[in-house]
Symmetry: D3
Subunit: 331 residues, 6 copies
């Protein structure tokens, strides 16, 4: 039976140069849509879960095109709102060799950032829900977005829904007068599953520790609701060649996942979101260690696909885990 999962976060228009063209030389942009949380939603919906995404768009055709994208992904758009403000945009230039990939964000003043959460009926949103997912991007955007995120987390928690949060500290956001340590602890306290690396611990929980397990234990001590903390490790040999690994701390032990070699990367954007979706799927359906491996394999496959969303089936992820059919020509 499919699970009911609720996600919340801004969806931007992604404008990417074709191939490896630089911003300076491009003559057109490919249009896609994406956002950290909606990418998680798209993965889970592709795997058959019943997913609804909460966000807001400007009330014009480009806003509606974003809704079309969410719908096409099988995401329930009952909680997509239209309001004042612009469409958040991010411009993407895909690096190659030693040359880094680049994102230029153009998201300030978006409809999402101005969305007033008082119009949301949280009871209805979370009715029958099994899981709620948020990221640290939302509270970093604006005061209203931070309030939206807090209200959602609180409601989910009160209604017994498992809550996951990808801390995802972004220095360039947080421009509305609050700092992460002002805001994030209030959100983390209701969260069951956390994605956080050492930087996130430091910046968002004020936990400064070089040892990941000790940092986890200190986080747990501070936020007893936490059940799992996970993070990935990416080694970037070049824009085209990375290695990916990850760990999962389950309150008892640190599980080390396998390391995947990733030459010939097609598009790394959304790799972390693919991991998150894989972890949610895994924790809902598998033992901890398998959950982590599944999440890493899902993330690896994302790197072979252009765009934010991870168009891979459960079977494809499972086959990468077992090594079956990898690199074949399937007829």
């Amino acid at each position: 039976m499919s699970k009911r999962i609720i996600t919340l976060g801004e969806v931007m228009m992604r404008l990417s140069t074709p191939g490896h063209e630089r911003f300076i030389q491009t003559h057109y942009y490919e249009v896609q849509f994406g956002g950290a949380e909606a990418n998680v939603a798209a993965s889970l919906a592709y795997w058959g879960e019943s997913v609804a995404h909460i966000c807001a768009f400007p009330d014009h055709e480009i806003g509606r095109a974003a809704v079309r994208y969410l719908r096409s992904s099988g995401i329930d758009t009952s909680y997509v709102y239209f309001g004042e403000g612009r469409m958040g945009i991010y411009f993407f230039e895909n690096g190659a060799m030693h040359r880094s990939s680049k994102i230029i964000y153009d998201r300030f003043g978006s409809a999402f950032s101005q969305f007033d959460c008082d119009q949301v009926d949280w009871k209805k949103v979370f009715e029958g829900a099994d899981w709620f997912h948020w990221t640290g991007i939302t509270p970093a955007i604006s005061e209203p977005a931070a309030r939206l995120c807090l209200e959602a987390i609180k409601a989910a928690h009160q209604l017994g829904v498992t809550v996951s949060g990808d801390i995802n500290y972004r220095r360039n956001l947080w421009q509305y007068g609050k700092t992460p340590v002002d805001v994030m602890p209030g959100l983390i306290q209701y969260t069951d599953v956390i994605i956080a690396g050492l930087t996130d611990f430091a910046n968002c929980m004020n936990i400064h520790d070089e040892d990941f397990v000790r940092a986890c234990e200190r986080a747990k001590a501070q936020f007893p609701q936490i059940k799992f903390i996970s993070t990935t490790h990416r080694e970037a040999l070049s824009s085209t060649h990375n290695k990916l690994s990850g760990v999962l701390w389950n309150g008892e032990a640190l599980i080390q996942g396998p390391t995947f070699d990733m030459p010939n990367i097609v598009d790394r954007v959304g790799g972390g979101d693919a991991f998150m979706a894989g972890l949610i799927h895994g924790l809902l359906n598998k033992p901890d260690k398998e959950a982590l491996t599944f999440a890493l394999a899902a993330s690896v496959l994302k790197h072979s696909i252009s765009g934010d969303a991870n168009f891979v089936t459960l079977q494809e992820v499972e086959q990468l885990v077992t090594g079956e059919n990898v690199g074949k020509l399937l007829r």
Copy 2:
């Protein structure tokens, strides 16, 4: 000998759907750059004049791509500044048949709108200049932009440069607390050549008159600096089929230009700017009546070209005036 012409105004990234695709269905956007005043600059530079354009961009690769466009057009970019703020964008959907064309502006918060004109050395800008051109879009954008426009006009006027202004009233702009009648008269008083229709007279000069000549005379009475007032008349039978005409009032008489039938329009954006450029070229080089005809012919040819800029030669405009080589296959 080529003339020295200075233009001022925001340059936006133009993102247009391919062919006649709607925003809702497009998978990519074609990238161009344009803006009313820069379109005038591009026309005049293409015709061999020495043109410099004043504007501001964000200091990232997309801002620099806009500069590349201006340079490619042969425009002197010595007075292009980089600063805080985003890149103004406009999304364009080309209509067809009965279906209208659509522009979604996304220009609030641009680097241009925040540009502080104190850093401009106006003496240097207008050294050797013959003409300065502005439009009513700039004072409508923001307080700093209105101030920039006023400073430029005053400096040009004081330095003996002929000033033209396309009044171009846009209801959706003017959101910073001022109204056109607060601001525009202060700009028009130093302007020699005006593009204005009855709506512009009403909204920007508070001259409410159904008779164009009388409106011109009232404007002249109020703003004695004015020497020419011109406007075009477009009859839109459909998105693909328009008729274009125009008039020029030279303080003595109203000159009526020819009417051009325009079936099979390729792209009408920038048609007015092509007229403006034609009028500047005409008034600098021809008797009044020929200037008007030249301006209309230049505008007509713009409708056959995709993008904001009017890539037609002086010879092509002249040949449309005389009817030579129209619709041929030139080998």
Copy 3:
């Protein structure tokens, strides 16, 4: 409040050559999805109705891509089934000038044609439904498709749902051993709103009459359930220039709609389906004469849009009816 509308019919992959390229010279095909009934569904969903579409696809990624299209259009895909058989395809070459447009169908053996309707829970399908729409293409495809169509119509009728049918006689189909006159009367008898021209009367109802009103009266006599009969008239001056008109017989009088001139057609495929959607919307919301005008205007706008689906808003259709904003540049 939005209406609940159910549609049924095959959705094919549409592979069209770019621009006006011929099949013989193309190097790529644009991919879209469409089908007469799903086109009606897409229009109605775009206008805010709650629409579910019944069909079947092969259980592979291309079948799933078709589902993505339906979902993106806001269509409820709860009654989309997966089964044996291939994906129906149609290849489209857009004519120009005197040269006709061409469709090569490649739909035999499709999953839809083999779909076994016993798995459908009709009570659930039509729960809360206001309208059911079918066309004469479905019973022409195969024995199972004809049975599916009949079962759906009967169920809708029994559950008090208004039924519309676009007779749409296609000579090249009907290859499974039955003729239209064997099958169609059994479907028409439960149908309230019929789209039929003289050829349809003759081939599908065995009513041979040169007078449309008399044909309608004879049809009504034979099938008392019929409340409305409508048809459009298209005059093809060339592939690029048509005229469109239509009539609506409401049991009492023949209402003649306006004639629209349509030069510079972009894509005429789906024009009839846009009319059908307009008529359903019109009959649900307007007096008969206005319903017909609305339907014709909706169809006219479809001709300005590439693809099967009619991406126009209610407001755009209404404005074409009143002549407002036609052929403008809307900012």
Copy 4:
């Protein structure tokens, strides 16, 4: 039974800007191949005739790509030679509205212009041939090309093959020291069917006469071999809208063909060659008047197709003559 037709002439790479883009703004060129005589060959081969084309290319992959094009068109390439020299190129910009279409030729120094005809075994070439076609472009290119053309015509004539020549005077060619009146009469004297307008008569036969019939009679007097003289008349209302008509003088009378109105032209290049192919087909298979009408209809349809070649079937041309199926959607 198909006829054996031999054609001779340079085939160039055609590089055209997409849509209506100007040379100055294009980012890519579409690649096709064409040339007046090969266009005739492609039409006739498409209609089922057995056609061989004589020409020469540089011995590299782009030369071989040209051969691939000829082969794809069903043209026998046994008499395609490889040798010193470059690939002739022509750049094409498709006009729109009042703006003319433009060709920039870049053909000097081509392999064809340097081809030494001594290596051709004319007996073998014309074995079983029914028709030979040349144009006035070949003798205008270079000394060796003029000699090639003369040798071919003489051989064809001696072997009893019907010879047609499209005089096609091009002022920009003829740069190798000879004038048309030096060269052309020597070629025309062996030619049975001539395409020539008044300019061609004047420049190539030194026949200066304003009356077409009288010019034909004077030509016949001078070159008794001539049996037919034909020419088309094109009225260019705009780049997008032409009218086309034509006449055929058969030694006895002047036959006036119908006038076709051609709005919404897609691509006029090759229109004359399509007429020529139609005339050859017509004269081989039909009475004179029908031959002319067929040729005009073939030319009209060419205007709906992008590229040099006329991808229309015999049936499509016949249907345009009778008006059947024009502008329909054929399923």
Copy 5:
């Protein structure tokens, strides 16, 4: 002197997503044509051999487009037939990294599968022929195709033509009621050169042996006509990185070819067919060991080219064998 080679097999339309896009996300398909045997034919024709291909297409423009492709490749299409049935299609999605490439076949009901071989004049087909090539795909398609294959092989054998067969067992075909062991031995008995791996031996010759040489010897014992048996070995490290090797058994010894490392694969489809063409060329022109090396090098180069066909010259293959000019920028 070029050899005369006859090939037989279905040619499908290949519709591939651009770049590495998945079926689920593509907006267009690139059109090519290909089929195992026609790919062999295209290679050999590109190398200057005289090649004719036997197949059948539906009698519409898409069928004719396939013929254009064969002709462009320099293949004699005298034995291409038109008949009832559809165009076989295969959809191709190019994998990347760990993600496999995918083919969705849509070939049932094709004109080729229904082709009645009684209309072929085998004497004429094989007149002057040196070699005939077939694959195990043809007898797997349908009863008529199996009969066509048998008739061709028998005729070739009787007329003294060397016969090669690529066994190429495909589990998803063979749906018409026969099994490979019913049919294949009857074809293999007249075949001189066989491509077969252990799976092919087992499924098509009922020879179950883990040792390749012993399997060859058993095959030779059963089918004494066999002179050569060859197979390739591909190690798929990922979709983008394979290693390729191969062996040739000549009745006396097993020759082991070199192993080529293939990182950065562009398109592996047709790699086996490129090997086959290389082997035919090699066996006709070189000692056995060199023939095998040539075939492997040809196959390796195919992986650098998009599409089914191997557009590499003899010289390029020879240079890969010697290592000359590999990876250079040739000016």
Copy 6:
């Protein structure tokens, strides 16, 4: 403060097949412009230097499009001339794996090759200049080009401008009757910085020596003006994988630069020019060893960018030198 740098050399239209397509299979060409010396100019202008480029084009729109390119790159085009002759073209096919990249030059008869340097006012050109750069391609093109190159070098030298020359011996040029040893010594004698490998020493300076340092010393002995000699070493493992290193001899010692591994090359054309630009920038701003490293890093980054020009910032080059941010996703 930016430096004033003058460059001289032909700019060609670059027509490249998309992706890794071969010439034989392409349907369109991407249009760019480039030439060895203009590529150097574009790099230096991108880094903020004041650069003027001397060259000549045909006086038509394609020539003017080339000027647009130069202008867009921020290059001063005051010394671009228009004259008789064609546009030089080069066709580029990007290799992959073992398959080499290919350039077909089509540059004979260009406007540049016929340019008469008497019209150049060298005093004005070199006023305020710090550096002049030429390559051995210019004197190889034609007599007038060789004279142009000599005049420029002499003038620069006399006016105290540092002169650099990339010897760049190309066997396929030099077809106008002179040999490199006739011409090159006369140019090298006024040159301060030389790029030359052993082949260049041999062919252009008649210095045959296997030892690079000894060759440098012999060159210095012969041409005392020389201060630096540099060359790069490229190891081509495949078209997609190269290694790059280089050396700089400064009259005293041979400095060995680092070796960069370059898998996943996007486009290697212009790699040498990027090195040259880096070396000029380096020698003007850094110690010798750092100059060499900077030049190599600049060249490496060029391989990640499509087209001739090296669109990388100074900061990006510096970061590659230090290893910072390599292969990251920069937000």
